[in-house]
Structure formats: C-alpha cells, structure tokens
C-alpha cells in the first residue's frame, strides 16, 4: 500500500502540539482578561454628550468647585448631575449665542431635561455611596482621575469589583485629609506643605478617621 501521508506529516504533527498550546494559551489569556480590556470597560473612552460639556473649561478655566454642580456628593449616595438651571446661572449671561449651548437653552425653555450619557455606571446589583467615601477622605481624583483636565468625561478606572476591593483591603494607600478631597492635584504632604510618604500619612489618617472598610459581600451587594 502506498504511504497515506507524506514524509513531512511527522514534523507537522510535532509542530501542531506547540501550536495548540500557544493558541489555547493565548485564547485563555484573552478570555480571562476580557473584563479588564479597554474594549469592554470603556476606560479612557470619552463619551459623546448632547452638549460637549468640558470639565477642563469649567473647573480649571472658570474655577468652579465640584460641589457647585454635584451638590449632593457629600450627603448622599448619588453625586447629582446638575439641572440646566445651574448652567443658566452663567449661560443666561455669557455665551448666550453659542450654538453648542442651544440644547441647554431649549431644555430651559421647555423643561425637558438633558439626557446626559452615563460614563460611570455600576450594575444595579451593586450598592455604592459617595458620602462615606468623601467623609473618610477618598478624593474624587482617586476614583475619577484628573477631572479638571478632561475636555469630555471619561473613566480612568474599570469599576470592576477587584478595583473596589483593592482599596477596601488597603485604604491606607489612597486616603488623604478630608479638606483635600476636591483637590485634583493633591500630593501626600504634611500640614506645613512638606512632602511625606503616603504610607506614613495613610497609616495616620486611618487612625484619625477610624477607617475600616468592609469587604463583606453584603456591603456592596445588598
């Protein structure tokens, strides 16, 4: 009987072992990391909004405090997205002709709110609360990044559960003095403005504020 397979088949069979290992390895690596990829988490992806509101203009340029618009961030779970009345405190006076602001003016006239596109959106089975984080000295910037530099809003963190837990397990790496929570450019320093290590400062603040985040499932999944 003639040979069924050409001579090269043996080499092919051997190589296929390696190929299978590589393909399966790569496939698994990708599969296991899907929830961490930019593609799925939308980290660093600026969302298109009905009005191209720029935090960079309004925070760095105009010098507004976060609480001017996100009024309830200190008392409530929800930070609040400002109503158009807040915008109109200024935009009824300045840039009144700007075509970009037309949706704001229209919403002001008709009373139909603007439909902002959510950038940070936890699944409904997760409970999150801003006030506790603000009160225990977690800066907006720790979770939301340098908002004052963002022409359009984007996420800098995945909001995956591992991300929440990373801090709940080691909050000393992230805490800052309460009065610095809204400071976008804060660096670890003592009262006199000298740079200190986060490790020292964090350990101190943990004691001062009595910080002890829970990692029980029912903290976030109620």
């Amino acid at each position: 009987m003639a040979q069924l397979f050409p001579r090269g088949s043996n080499a092919f069979a051997r190589i296929s072992i390696v190929v299978v290992l590589v393909v399966v390895g790569t496939g698994l690596t990708i599969l296991l990391n899907t929830n961490r990829l930019h593609y799925t988490t939308d980290v660093q992806v600026a969302k298109k909004q009905p009005v191209p509101f720029s935090h960079k203009h309004h925070v760095t340029g105009v010098g507004l405090d976060c609480r001017y618009c996100h009024t309830s961030v200190e008392e409530s779970s929800f930070a609040n997205i400002p109503p158009v009345e807040t915008c109109m405190t200024c935009h009824s006076q300045i840039w009144t002709e700007s075509p970009l602001l037309e949706p704001i003016r229209e919403s002001y006239r008709t009373g139909n709110p603007i439909e902002w596109v959510r950038v940070h959106d936890l699944p409904d089975f997760v409970y999150f609360n801003h006030s506790i984080h603000v009160h225990k000295g977690i800066g907006c910037q720790t979770c939301h990044g340098q908002v004052d530099q963002m022409p359009l809003m984007w996420k800098v963190n995945t909001l995956n559960m591992e991300w929440c837990l990373e801090c709940h397990r080691e909050p000393e790496k992230y805490v800052r003095p309460r009065e610095e929570v809204f400071n976008m450019a804060w660096k670890p320093m003592d009262e006199r403005g000298h740079a200190v290590s986060q490790a020292l400062l964090g350990a101190q603040l943990i004691q001062d504020y009595d910080i002890n985040p829970s990692t029980d499932c029912s903290t976030c999944h109620r």
Partner: protein, 464 residues
C-alpha cells in the same frame, strides 16, 4: 445463546472467547461493524435517539431563556432533579473506569471485550452529568467564575472549603483521565481501521486519529507502559469521584445526609449503576451485531456477580442509614427516617427497595445470571432504582427539615422531565454514533486473547 460450548472442566472458568476464533475472524468481524454498509436498524435507532435528543435542545433553550423557575425546585427543595440527575449520571460512568483500570491492574481477562464501550459510556455519562450543574446555574456562560478558580476581575475565589468545588476538580479530572485512557486504547484499533478502510477520506481520518501507529515493538512497549500508568492514575478516581459527590451531601447540615457510610455506599452504588447500564446497552448491542463470541456467558455471569456484590453493599448502606437515624438519637434524624419510610414519599422509598434490594437478589441464581433477557430486565430495575435512591436522598431530606413552617412537597414539572429525557437521548445518540465509527470491542486485545489461547493450545499439545 451464541456459544453453546458446554463447560467441561468444572474447575476451569468458562472461556472469555467463543470457540474457533483466529486473528482474521476477530479483525474481520469487529471491523465489519464499522466498514460494512449502514444497517437499517442502526439508522432507525439513530433517528429515535436523535428525536429524544431534540428534547434536550428544547428544554435547555427554554431554561436559558426563562431561568430555573421552569423547574420544580423551590424552597425548601432547592436541589431538585438537577442534582439527582447529576449524581445518577456520574454514577453510571463508574463501570467504565472500574473495568478499564482496576480490572486491568488485576489482570482480569474478561474485561477486554467490554472495556471499550464501558469507557465510552463513562465519557458520555460524565458529559450528561456535567450538563446539570452547569444548567442549574441558569447562566452557564458565567459559571466559569463560580466553578473554576482563576484570577477574575471580582478578586473572589470559589470557596475551597466547599465540596462543590472539590466536585469540579474530581469530575474534571475523571473526565480528562477517562478520555485520555479511552483514546489511548483506541489508537491501535484506529490503525487497524485505517488499514481496513476502503475510502480515502476514512483512511485519512483514521490515519490522523491513529497518530502514526505502525505496531512496532517500540510502539507496543510505549503503549503498554502508558496504559499501565493511566490505569494507576484512574484507580483512585473510581473511589474519589463518588466519595466527593457524597460529600456534597455529608458536609451539609440537613438530616439524613450525615451517615458516615456515605462515601463507600455512594461508590458501591455507582459501580452498581454502572454495571447495570453496561448490561442495558451491551446486551442489545451483542444481540444486534451477533457478538456472542466476544461477550460470552462468562462476561454475563461475572457482571451479574459484580452487580450482586455491589448491590448488597448498597443494601447494607440503606440499612446503616436506618441504623444511624436511630443510633444518633437526634429527633431530626429520627423524624427524617420515619418520614422517608412512612411519609408522603414512602411509595418511592419502597419502590427503591424493591428495585435495588429485592429484585436483584434473583442474581443469586446462576440461570438468571446467564440469561440475557433476565439480566436486561434486572439491570433496568437497577437503573430506575438508582435514580429513585438519589431522589429519596435529595427530596425526603429537604422537603421536611428543621422547621415545620417551611415544609412543602416537591413537584417536578414537564421541563424537569424534558431535560432528563433529553440527556438520555444525548447519551443514546452518542453511543449509537460511537458504535458505528469506532470499534465497540477492543480488536487488538481480543487478538491478544486469541494469541494466548493458541499458545496454551501449543503447550498443551506438546505435553501430550
């Protein structure tokens, strides 16, 4: 019966091979099952099994759309048919491993003609078993992070102290090792089929599957070594898998799940169920393809004995459960047993005793062990009985536990039936397909039997 050869010497066991077998007849007969024209009966069987298989598709799809609410499980019986069927199927797989591993190590020659399809059965049964926990999650596509420990984005790991995660490893290992063992044994036979095949495409397919097997002495040496090692690896699996399945129950707090006999009693039950299923499938195959020379009276007799022995262990397990309920002096255990024996499910309990304890006692009679129809009927009873056993364990313990205010009855729904019947369809479908494309009986091991026999014959005639 195909081998009417009377047993002459009462001290010698009946032969494991019919008379007049040579290398050629063995190879011809066994590879003809695959290379001959497709028999009509095969097509009919395939159509029936395929139709039942559609039930699986339907029930699983509807389950994924609607969620586990379509099943009868609810508080207090949160572990309904999904667990019952899982345990039932896993148990059925056990005969394959026992035959291929333990009987190989013990050099039991009669294993040779039944090991191949018993191993195939193991693999398909474990597949059926695996479907139930996966579907029970309701969302099988996220089940990976509930079942497997991997660095996920929730930075949580499965609970390593829970037997449910041990189960994942036990069943996973069992499946992998069984698959490799089965495949290894098939390699020399694939080579035979490659050489027998007439069509170019089948030559290539069997050629690839046989991985370049040429039957050289070196090949055989490696093969024997690998088979022995795998047999060594699989042997503990025969005991570990069902022990761990039993721990799923024993680690819980529910009355009726604590009896210390659980692991061995489950293992014996598994082997019992496994042999029953080997007979349920083996007897029709033997009849249809006329394999009486390979699956001889000796095989039937031995399998009957194994069933009798494991059945007695299982019966002992039932007795010990009763004893334990009394001896524990716990009112909950006591009530559970009273409820199991005389409560609303007593009918099921007594049918279980009938199927698993009473009827199999007929196996004491040699004529019954040698009669294919008798064995077939008894094995059917055992298949049903083993299912009832799991039903009794799961349902009677859960439906009335510590708090009378939460007591309730368990009612299965058509979807429970659909999924269960569907997996049976899947199992039959795979088995029937298997018969047609792979040798049901190990060709080369039977040839070895022929070789041994002729060697004995030679020495015998030399002695004369």
């Amino acid at each position: 019966m195909g081998s009417p050869a009377p047993i002459k010497d009462p001290t010698m066991p009946a032969p494991v091979l019919g008379p007049g077998q040579t290398y050629t007849t063995v190879t011809q007969k066994l590879s003809a099952i695959i290379t001959s024209r497709t028999p009509l009966g095969w097509i009919a069987a395939m159509l029936i099994a395929g139709a039942i298989l559609q039930l699986l598709m339907l029930s699983a799809t509807w389950l994924l759309i609607k969620g586990t609410g379509i099943w009868g499980l609810n508080i207090p019986v949160g572990w309904g048919w999904a667990i019952i069927n899982f345990v039932w199927w896993i148990g059925i797989g056990h005969a394959g491993t026992l035959i291929s591993a333990i009987l190989l190590l013990m050099r039991q020659q009669w294993r040779n003609s039944i090991n191949r399809f018993a191993e195939a059965m193991t693999i398909f049964a474990v597949m059926c078993a695996g479907m139930f926990p996966l579907l029970h999650t309701g969302r099988p596509w996220v089940a990976a992070y509930w079942l497997l420990p991997y660095p996920n984005t929730m930075s949580v790991w499965p609970q390593f102290r829970s037997p449910l995660i041990w189960d994942v490893f036990a069943v996973g290992t069992y499946f992998t090792v069984s698959l490799i063992f089965w495949y290894l044994g098939l390699i020399p036979d694939f080579a035979t089929l490659r050489d027998k095949a007439k069509h170019k495409i089948s030559q290539i397919i069997y050629g690839v599957l046989s991985m370049g097997w040429r039957g050289s002495a070196k090949h055989w040496f490696n093969y024997e070594m690998a088979a022995l090692l795998l047999a060594g690896v699989s042997t503990p699996l025969v005991l570990s898998v069902h022990s761990i399945v039993s721990l799923d129950f024993s680690v819980g707090l529910i009355p009726g799940w604590h009896a210390t006999i659980f692991p061995p009693y489950f293992v014996a039950g598994a082997v019992y169920a496994g042999f029953a299923m080997v007979l349920t499938l083996g007897l029709p195959i033997r009849y249809f393809y006329g394999l009486h020379d390979y699956i001889t009276d000796r095989h039937l007799n031995n399998m009957g004995k194994v069933m009798l022995a494991t059945g007695l262990i299982v019966a002992y397990g039932y007795a010990m459960e009763q004893f334990f309920a009394w001896y524990s002096a716990s009112p909950y255990e006591g009530y559970m047993m009273q409820n199991r024996t005389f409560g609303p499910y007593s009918g099921t309990y007594w049918s279980l005793i009938l199927c698993n304890v009473a009827i199999p006692q007929l196996l004491w009679i040699k004529q019954v062990r040698l009669s294919p129809s008798g064995l077939f009927i008894i094995s059917m009873f055992i298949n049903v009985g083993m299912w009832l056993e799991r039903f009794i364990i799961v349902v009677t313990s859960l439906h009335r536990d510590f708090m009378p205010s939460s007591w309730d009855m368990y009612h299965s729904t058509p979807w429970d039936w659909g999924l269960y019947a569907g997996t049976i369809g899947f199992f039959l479908f795979m088995m029937i397909l298997f018969i047609r494309v792979m040798p049901v009986i190990n060709i080369f091991e039977i040839r070895q039997l022929v070789a041994n026999k002729s060697k004995h014959a030679e020495t015998a005639s030399a002695d004369d």
